[in-house]
Symmetry: C2
Subunit: 215 residues, 2 copies
């Protein structure tokens, strides 16, 4: 079958990305050479540079793609989940927690690299990736704020709570393995319940920070 | 002042460890060369090998030391905190959360490397580090189990909850910077409150996993 140059090019770029993810996850970005990557993909080095001008541009592409895909996937999930409903903050928080778990479980290498290789991004790329990360964090913060505003959440500090929830949810990639004791959906439900507990405080205590402020 | 060879040797080993932490955190273990490390420390390569037989032995030493120091620090904190008290599970959970936050905030490089470079440990060293990690996780699990046993905690799955709490607490190293909007003690108190919420469920719901099991 004849292939157009365009689709062939896209296929090669996809193979480069997949091999780069493997190599960076196993040995780190600094230790990966473009020559080694070309060998893993099975192309000449020149073919790599046709797709990615520099090694730095390749890393930035991987990290930007990861964040853009994540943001797009949430928009889709959110639209599906909320279709025709006036969703409460609590429903949206639940949907966000489940989405985040499900998405991150399926992409442990991307998650690992997104955290580990921030240090290797040039300032321009670091800022661009950070902006996308903030866009994602702001989705969660908006849900938390809506819940505070309508009285359904009791939250002391939106930023701290959002950071804590994201770390808790993302941390699943460090221990969860498919085929283990717990199914992905059982784990997803338990994390969603823990997130709900963190936002809904009916345990009748004022938070220590508030107590201290009164002293 | 004359120094004994022993104390000089210990001082060199400490400088090697400190420089190795810097280099591994900034470029990754695979990309760090023993020659580059010797240059950073300001010694001949032979001096490195006097202290660490191989690059692998150096990495294992850094990761084992981190875990052993963490376990020792908790024993000390725990003994101080609990002196003369019959501490409740809730008090111990609070002390653990505060200890973990305080310890990890002060050692972001060790925390980063402890997660990132597990992949570079040989199987023997990986197992040894994993055992120490399990010892630490088991301290938290024992507290959670005690709280479940005495009826003060409502927890669906001890392992999942412990993993979620540890990830949430450790995640602070990815965003907290001294001198920012929040003091370390304010952040410590907020995280301790969130951990308490995760263990104490008075929000009147049975967890989804339990609901599913009944269906």
């Amino acid at each position: 079958m004849a292939r157009t140059i365009g689709s062939n090019g896209e296929e090669t770029a996809a193979r480069i990305r997949a091999c780069a993810l493997e190599l960076i996850a196993s040995q780190g970005f600094e230790a990966m050479s473009m020559r080694g990557l070309a060998a893993a993909v099975g192309v000449q080095s020149a073919a790599l540079y046709h797709h990615f001008a520099t090694k730095q541009a390749l890393l930035a592409d991987l990290m930007m793609s990861h964040m853009r895909d994540l943001l797009t996937a949430w928009q889709t999930t959110c639209a599906d989940h909320m279709a025709g409903q006036a969703a409460t903050a609590s429903d949206r928080l639940d949907a966000f927690a489940r989405f985040h778990i499900r998405y991150h479980i399926s992409r442990p290498q991307e998650v690992f690299i997104a955290y580990m290789e921030l240090r290797s991004l040039s300032p321009v790329h670091y800022n661009a990736v950070s902006e996308l990360r903030r866009d994602y964090e702001n989705l969660l913060k908006a849900i938390l704020q809506d819940g505070v505003d309508d009285g359904s959440f009791q939250i002391d500090d939106i930023h701290v709570t959002a950071m804590a929830i994201l770390a808790m949810l993302t941390g699943i990639t460090t221990w969860y393995r498919p085929g283990g004791r717990l199914s992905a959906s059982a784990v997803e439900m338990q994390y969603a319940a823990m997130v709900r507990r963190m936002a809904v405080d009916d345990i009748g205590e004022s938070l220590p920070v508030q107590r201290q402020a009164k002293q």
